[in-house]
């Protein structure tokens, strides 16, 4: 709605050259000359039909839905790979840290090491380490196989660095939180009782501590995945990946109002879905949540 208060130029490709009547017709096409309430009603109808309208600057009169459809799959692919990699690396790192933090001083070095990694990743701006990864990573991998710096869709080798770059912050995030939650859980009475039953330390970590520590995390996992999908902005521009990442910034800069509106809509939709999925995942893992909703499951 706020977009409506923006200058009208945003709805046209070549505002300066148009005559007042042409503007009127253009506005009428977009229903922009009607009262606010009517505009809103129309907007909802279109949205519910999945109709996002057409772009008017980025690619003139090209349906926005198609623009997104052409770019999203690549972003989603890269994003999902990055998130998978992040959890594959982050979870074991966090578990290792949590276990060694509790153990002997000899093991504590792992905790220190992990903490350093996490802190560095979080403290250094993403754009800086992306650059480093791009430069040194290309060089390093280049020793084994010929590797172009930029992304090429059909060369799987060129996927490695962007995916890795994109996964780093999520990896640090997940390692840090799983470590913290596991450290919290490991002081709980039920862990002591499990030890008193004679359950070996590794099984306690896995069966008891990890699962309980994962519950508070799981709620934010889908959101994290979606954020990674959207947040690929730097990485995509660094490696020149033709994905969704730069799109929003691009269209805002060019005042393509219909495009901005459509993208914001898509992103907020995605966030809501993420929050929902988080709650669903949490309910799947934690019987207390599940039963609170259904009353009684059995």
């Amino acid at each position: 709605m706020l977009l409506r208060l923006m200058p009208l130029e945003g709805y046209f490709n070549n505002y300066e050259k148009l005559t007042p009547t042409q503007i009127k017709v253009g506005l009428a096409k977009l229903w922009l000359d009607r009262p606010m309430a009517v505009q809103l009603g129309h907007f909802w109808q279109d949205t519910l039909r999945g109709e996002l309208g057409v772009s008017n600057k980025y690619r003139v009169n090209y349906p926005i839905g198609k623009i997104i459809a052409s770019k999203a799959p690549l972003s989603i692919q890269i994003g999902l790979m990055a998130v998978t990699l992040a959890f594959l690396l982050g979870m074991p790192l966090g578990i290792l840290m949590a276990r060694s933090a509790r153990g002997h001083s000899r093991l504590k070095i792992w905790d220190r090491f992990g903490t350093v990694v996490v802190v560095v990743i979080q403290a250094v701006p993403a754009s800086v380490y992306y650059l480093f990864i791009q430069i040194y990573g290309t060089e390093l991998l280049g020793k084994f196989f010929p590797l172009p710096t930029l992304f090429a869709r059909d060369n799987p080798l060129t996927w490695i660095l962007p995916v890795f770059s994109l996964s780093l912050s999520t990896m640090a995030w997940s390692a840090m939180w799983i470590r913290r939650y596991m450290a919290d859980e490991s002081t709980k009475d039920y862990v002591l009782l499990a030890r008193a039953k004679g359950v070996p330390a590794a099984a306690i970590s896995r069966r008891h501590i990890f699962r309980n520590a994962f519950v508070p995390l799981v709620q934010s996992v889908p959101t994290t995945i979606l954020l990674t999908l959207m947040g690929s902005l730097y990485v995509e521009s660094r490696f020149s990946i033709p994905g969704m990442g730069g799109l929003l910034v691009d269209v805002i800069k060019r005042q393509d109002n219909t495009m901005v509106q459509a993208l914001v809509l898509v992103y907020s939709g995605i966030s809501i879905v993420g929050l929902l999925l988080g709650d669903v995942a949490m309910a799947l893992l934690d019987p207390r949540v599940r039963f609170a909703g259904k009353g009684d499951a059995r």
Binding site: R102, G103, K188, D189, Y190, L192, L193, A194, R195, A196, K197, G198, V199, P200, A201, R207, H208, R211, N212, V215, L285, D286, P287, R288, F291, R298
Partner: protein, 346 residues
């Protein structure tokens, strides 16, 4: 020292000898158990009483190798079935915990894993120690649920802890504890966190299980009412040491250590009607510096000079009754013992 044999000819199943346990806290060492010795007799119900922080839980945790990471057994022996538990490695402990010695903890609301169904928390132990799997484990677990008085075990087996009431959870914890047929069951304040109306039921349950499975039970408690109800023998702990050990009658009716006098007169159940309730003055000693003499001396109205200098030896009063107080030395001056005998209890 030879293993004691009491009047019934029951030997000691567990002998703790001169056990010292230290905790390191911010670089400083705290001696929490000081040269503790105690025999636990096969098949008995032993109660350990003492004020908060005296080291009761630490004592029991050291019997299971469950001391917190900053604590360790400095010296001493824990003899069980010919082995010294104090020297076991973590791997060797796995064969003792749950299988030989099991524990029921204070708070049933927190001592079960909230994400695992009750049944699986029992079968986890069965699989580890008795190799039972699948249907066999299920059947056995349901048998134990029935044993601890949980109705509809088929239904309860699949339920999660939050679907159980506090008393039911404690029953489930007890089922886990007895599932591997331990020889010794430690109950660390088993009823403190439970509704008063159910406390007696839980105690009766523990007593009946003790009979059924011929357990040796160690109760930790603050509550002399619990002691009177369940214990054959009582060991009184003060500042990391047992100051008096005897049968329940001996402790209630013929206490010898000034701390036990004070403890008994501070219990509401035992005080006479119309009398003021006695509270022990002062506070327990600071454990970060070594203690000289009798740890209770600074709070002791009857303290002798020597109490501040040398630790009293354990004086034997009867075959079953020992106390650690210089007042029992033949050279000690005559002293008036306060009236502590309770009417109702014992």
């Amino acid at each position: 020292m030879a293993v004691d044999t009491d009047r019934d000819g029951r030997g000691a199943i567990l002998s703790v000898r001169s056990l010292n346990v230290d905790f390191t806290l911010r670089g400083a060492r705290h001696r929490v158990l000081r040269d503790v010795s105690l025999d636990v007799r096969r098949g008995e119900n032993l109660a350990i009483v003492g004020e908060s922080g005296s080291g009761k839980s630490v004592f029991c945790k050291s019997l299971m190798g469950l001391l917190d990471a900053n604590g360790r057994v400095e010296s001493g022996e824990i003899l069980y079935e010919g082995a010294d538990l104090a020297t076991l490695t973590e791997k060797e402990w796995l064969k003792i915990r749950g299988k030989e010695i099991a524990i029921v903890m204070q708070d049933p609301m927190t001592s079960l894993n909230p994400l695992i169904p009750i049944g699986r928390q029992i079968t986890e132990a069965l699989r580890l120690h008795r190799g039972l799997k699948g249907k066999a484990a299920r059947e056995a677990a349901m048998g134990y649920l029935r044993d601890v008085g949980i109705a509809q075990p088929e239904l309860r087996f699949k339920q999660y802890p939050h679907e159980f009431s506090g008393g039911m959870r404690q029953r489930a914890v007890i089922a886990i504890a007895i599932a591997c047929r331990p020889k010794i069951l430690i109950c660390d304040e088993p009823t403190t966190a439970i509704d008063v109306t159910i406390q007696a039921q839980i105690l009766d349950l523990l007593l009946s299980l003790q009979q059924k499975y011929q357990l040796t039970t160690i109760y930790i408690t603050h509550d002399l009412g619990v002691v009177a109800r369940v214990a054959d023998r009582v060991a009184v702990m003060y500042a990391g040491d047992f100051v008096e050990i005897g049968t329940t009658e001996e402790i209630f009716y013929d206490p010898r250590h000034p701390y036990v006098w004070a403890l008994l007169s501070s219990m509401p159940q035992l005080a006479k009607k119309g009398e003021n309730l006695y509270s022990i003055e002062g506070s327990p000693p600071d454990l970060s510096s070594p203690l000289a003499g009798d740890a209770f001396a600074p709070r002791n109205r009857y303290a002798l000079k020597i109490d501040f200098v040398r630790r009293p030896p354990l004086f034997s009063l009867t075959e079953t009754h020992q106390a650690r107080s210089w007042l029992l030395d033949p050279r000690a001056p005559k002293h008036e013992r306060p009236e502590t005998k309770g009417g109702g209890a014992g």
